[in-house]
C-alpha cells in the first residue's frame, strides 16, 4: 500500500514484459509446425527458403523423330511428364509440361562449352553438360515464363497480329512466332543471340528450354529448365 505510484508503474511495465515475452516466443515456435502442416516437406524449424525441396523429377521421353521436323519451321507439340510433390496423402503427383520442338532455318548456339553461356546455361546448375552445342533444332517448354499459361507456336505471323493484340513484327522477324493467349507475350524462337526473345508483352524472359539429345532418329528430351508453376 505504501509503494509510490511511479514505482507501481515501473513494476507494471516489468510484469507486462515478463508475460509478453513468453507469449511471443510461443507464437514464434508455432510458425514452423504450422508451415510444416501446410507444406509437409519443409525441414524442421526451417523458415528460410522452404521451397527448395520441391524440385520436379522429369521422365526422359522421345519427343519427335528427325523426319517429323525436317524442314525449316516444322514444329511438333509434345507433353513431358514431370513429377512434382503435391501435398496430398498420395505424395508425388505428376504434372504435365507441354513443349514444342522447332526446326529453325539456321543453326544457333545452344551451349558454349568454353564460357558456359547460351540458352542451356542452366544445365550446369542441375549438374549436366549438354551433348549438343549448336543446332537448328530447339525445344521449348510451352509454359509461359510470364504467369504460366500455355503459349502457342503460330506458323504465320499475321495470325499473331490478328489474334494477339495487334503486334506487328518488324520485317526481319516476319516468320513463325510464339504467342501467349493470356497477356499477349510474343516470342521469337529464332533469335540467334537469344532464342525465344520477348518481342512484346509483359514476359520477363524467354521461355524455358528443354535439354535434348539425338539418339538415332529420335529427339530425346531429358530435362526441363527448373522454375515457375506448372
Amino acid at each position: 500500500m505504501d509503494t509510490k505510484p511511479a514505482e507501481m508503474m515501473a513494476r507494471r511495465k516489468f510484469l507486462k514484459l515478463v508475460t509478453t515475452l513468453p507469449a511471443l516466443a510461443a507464437t514464434a515456435a508455432l510458425v514452423s509446425p504450422l508451415l510444416r502442416f501446410l507444406k509437409p516437406n519443409v525441414e524442421k524449424f526451417k523458415i528460410y527458403a522452404p521451397t527448395v525441396q520441391d524440385a520436379a523429377r522429369g521422365e526422359v521421353i522421345a519427343v519427335a523423330t528427325l523426319r517429323e521436323v525436317a524442314n525449316p519451321w516444322d514444329y511438333k507439340y509434345f507433353v513431358f511428364t514431370q513429377k512434382y510433390p503435391q501435398y496430398t496423402p498420395e505424395g508425388f503427383k505428376a504434372a504435365n509440361v507441354p513443349g514444342v520442338v522447332i526446326k529453325l532455318p539456321y543453326k544457333i548456339t545452344l551451349y558454349d562449352p568454353a564460357t558456359g553461356q547460351g540458352p542451356w546455361r542452366w544445365a550446369r546448375d542441375i549438374g549436366k553438360t549438354p551433348k549438343v552445342t549448336e543446332s537448328d533444332l530447339i525445344v521449348f517448354s510451352r509454359i509461359c515464363p510470364h504467369l504460366g499459361c500455355i503459349y502457342n507456336f503460330v506458323p504465320n505471323y499475321k495470325e499473331v497480329t490478328a489474334g494477339y493484340g495487334g503486334y506487328l513484327p518488324p520485317p526481319p522477324r516476319q516468320h513463325a512466332l510464339m504467342a501467349c493467349p493470356c497477356h499477349l507475350s510474343i516470342y521469337d524462337p529464332a533469335d540467334p543471340q537469344l532464342p525465344g526473345r520477348v518481342l512484346s508483352g509483359p514476359a520477363p524472359r524467354p521461355p524455358r528450354t528443354f535439354l535434348y539429345e539425338i539418339q538415332g532418329e529420335n529427339i530425346i528430351a531429358t530435362d526441363v529448365e527448373p522454375g515457375g508453376i506448372a
Partner: protein, 390 residues
Amino acid sequence: MWEKVRDWLAQRRQKLDLFDETLVARQDNPLYLMGPMLYYFWLITVVTGVILMLWYEPTTTGAYTSIERIQNDIGRLALTFLGRPVTLGGLTRGLHKYGADALITITFLRIYRMYFLAEYKKPGELSWMLAFLGLILGMVSGITGYLLIWNQRAFWAAKVVLTVPVYFDELPLIGPLKFGSMIAFLFLGGPAVGQATITRFYALHFGISLVLLILVEVFFQRTRRKRINMSLFPLALFLVMLVVISIILPAESGRRADPTKTPLPILSDWYFLALYQYVKYTPPLWAGLGPGLLIGFGLIVPFLDRSKGRRPLERPFFTVVGALAVLYFLAFTALILFNIAVIERDPFLIMNITLVVLALGLFWELRHRRQQRQAAAAGISPPARAPVHG
C-alpha cells in the same frame, strides 16, 4: 501507446457499422439499403452453397462432371425453358452464382458510396476498413469458388493468379527468403495446380464465409441490432429476380479444364477483368505489387485524407482519385472484353494520363484550401459541415 490504440479501437467499435445497421433513419434512400442487402445476398450464397456441397465432388476428375450433374439432373422439375430442363440443382447453382455476383456488386457500390461520401472519416475508420477487407475476402471467395467448377477459365485464372506471388522472390532483401513462392505453394498445395489445389480452395471457399458468419453473429448478438432492416417485399423481389435469371441464363459450366491448352482470350469472373488487363501492361513483379499497393491505399485512406469536409467537392484530390479508379475499372474491363491491348503504346499513355490527372487534382485541392483560408480570414463562416452519420 497501447492505451491509445485501445481507446481508439473502443471508440470506433461503438460506432461500428457492419451492414449500415445504424443508418435506419435513412431507409428511404436506397444508398443506405446496400448494407442490409449485402447481408441478405451473403446469406443466400451461404445457404445455396451448403446445399451445393451435398452433390459437389471436390476432385480433379469428378468436379466438372458433378457440376454438370447438379445443373442438368438433380431435382428435375416438370418444366423446360427453351428446351432445357429446369432443375432444382440448376436453380441452386444459379442462386449461388448470381447471389455471389450481386454480393460483389453491392460490396463495390457500397465501397464507392463510403468513399465518395467520406464515411471513412472519424469515427467511421473501422467500418470502412472492414468493408474493404470484406471486398477482398469476397473476391477471394469468388476466385476459390470459381476453380471448384474445374473448367478452362477457372483453371487458368487460378494458375495465373497464383504465379503472381512467385515474382515477390525478386524483391530485394525479402526476396531470397522465398516467401513469394511459398505463398503460391501453400495455396496450390504444391508447385502445380492439381488435386491439392481443389482441396485447399474448397476449404478456403467454405471457411472464409463460415468464420466471418460466426464473427458477425457474435457482433449482432452483442449489439442486439436488427440484422436486416428492410421490408419483406424488396427481399422477396430480389429472390424472385435471382430465380428468374437462373432460369433464363443458367450458370455456365464452360469446358472442362485442360492443363495442356490455354484458350484465347482467357477471361475470368467480371470483377477480375480490369485486373487482367492491368497485368498485360505491367512487368510481372508489378502485377502483384500494384494490387497490393491499391489494397494498402484503400485500407489506410481514412488516415491519409485530412481534409475537413465530407462532401466530394470539399476534398477535390480524393474525389479525383476515386473517380479515376472507377474510370480505369470500367475502361480496362471494356478493353479486355474487346481483346485490345497495344502493349507498346498503352502503358505509356495511361501513366501520363494518370500523372496529369493526379497533378490537376492536387492543384484543385490546393486552390480549394486557399479559398477556404481566404474565406475564413474574411470572416465568412465556411458552409455548415454535413452531419456525421450514426
